[in-house]
């Protein structure tokens, strides 16, 4: 059976749950690119759910972490990042690390995220950190933004294991244009 060489459309099976005999598993590997710009808890959840699920479906997945999204990749034991007082202030007021993400709404000084995680546990929903770890185990590429690292004074050794070397906007755009789906979260 020959594969169609046109740009693949979104698989109908994903939408309708139906078998598509036309593809016969002979389609090009689909690629998903996510720009994780927000470090908010609900958005980090969306990013990690989509990335891990796409990787589970054997898609090639890369996530570009920029601006507040970069804080998601900071090691849990790193409390304050930055070298000058302004960068340090940023980290003091907005603690880095995936376990410290705040809700954009109803944060209530941490009460909102605490309740949300309590609910997640009750309903068997994985936390963003667990999802990110599973995504890494399934080969999701984690790519930090160089400009954000420089501006916020975050160094490569402060980021979790398995993160790729930082890149710039042009490299991120190349990933986006090559992907079948690109999301800005």
């Amino acid at each position: 059976m020959t594969a169609t060489l046109t740009r693949p459309k979104l698989p109908t099976a994903l939408v309708e749950g139906l078998d598509d005999p036309a593809t016969d598993g002979a389609v090009k590997t689909k690629e998903l690119m996510i720009v994780a710009e927000s470090g908010d808890l609900e958005r980090t959840w969306a990013t990690t759910i989509l990335a891990s699920t796409a990787a589970a479906g054997e898609m090639k997945v890369s996530i570009f972490f920029t601006f507040w999204g970069l804080f998601t990749l900071v090691r849990p034991e790193v409390r304050v990042t930055g070298t000058n007082w302004m960068q340090k202030m940023l980290a003091m007021m907005n603690r880095p690390g995936i376990d410290h993400a705040k809700l954009s709404k109803l944060n209530f000084a941490g009460m909102g995220p605490w309740m949300m995680k309590k609910l997640a546990k009750q309903y068997g929903v994985a936390e963003p950190r667990e999802l990110l770890e599973m995504a890494q185990a399934l080969g999701v590429r984690l790519i930090p933004c160089q400009m954000s690292m420089d501006m916020m004074g975050i160094t490569a050794d402060q980021l979790i294991d398995g993160v790729e070397p930082a890149v710039g906007a042009a490299a991120a755009l190349e990933l986006m244009t090559n992907a079948d789906a690109s999301l800005f979260i």
Partner: protein, 79 residues
């Protein structure tokens, strides 16, 4: 469909919500050989459609999809 090949590995995803049953299945399938069977137990009602879709996109054959009370059982043959 009657399964005669023994199950190589079982994923217990009971009580787990989307996307964990699928993600845990994808992690487990890496640990078995081609042609081996993977059994997944789940309670997430959305998992039936998820497993059909996942099987179509990945090419791993869904050889069984059944339900016993509240527990869904899927058997996947690794491609």
């Amino acid at each position: 469909m009657t399964v005669t090949t023994p199950i190589a590995k079982t994923v217990d995803a009971r009580g787990l919500s989307c996307p964990l049953p699928i993600v845990k299945t994808a992690l487990a399938i890496k640990e078995i050989g081609s042609g081996d069977l993977l059994e997944v137990l789940a309670t997430d009602p959305g998992s039936t459609k998820d497993f059909t879709a996942w099987s179509t996109t990945t090419g791993h054959q869904l050889v069984e999809s059944s339900v016993d009370g509240k527990v869904f059982r899927y058997v996947v043959r690794k491609k």
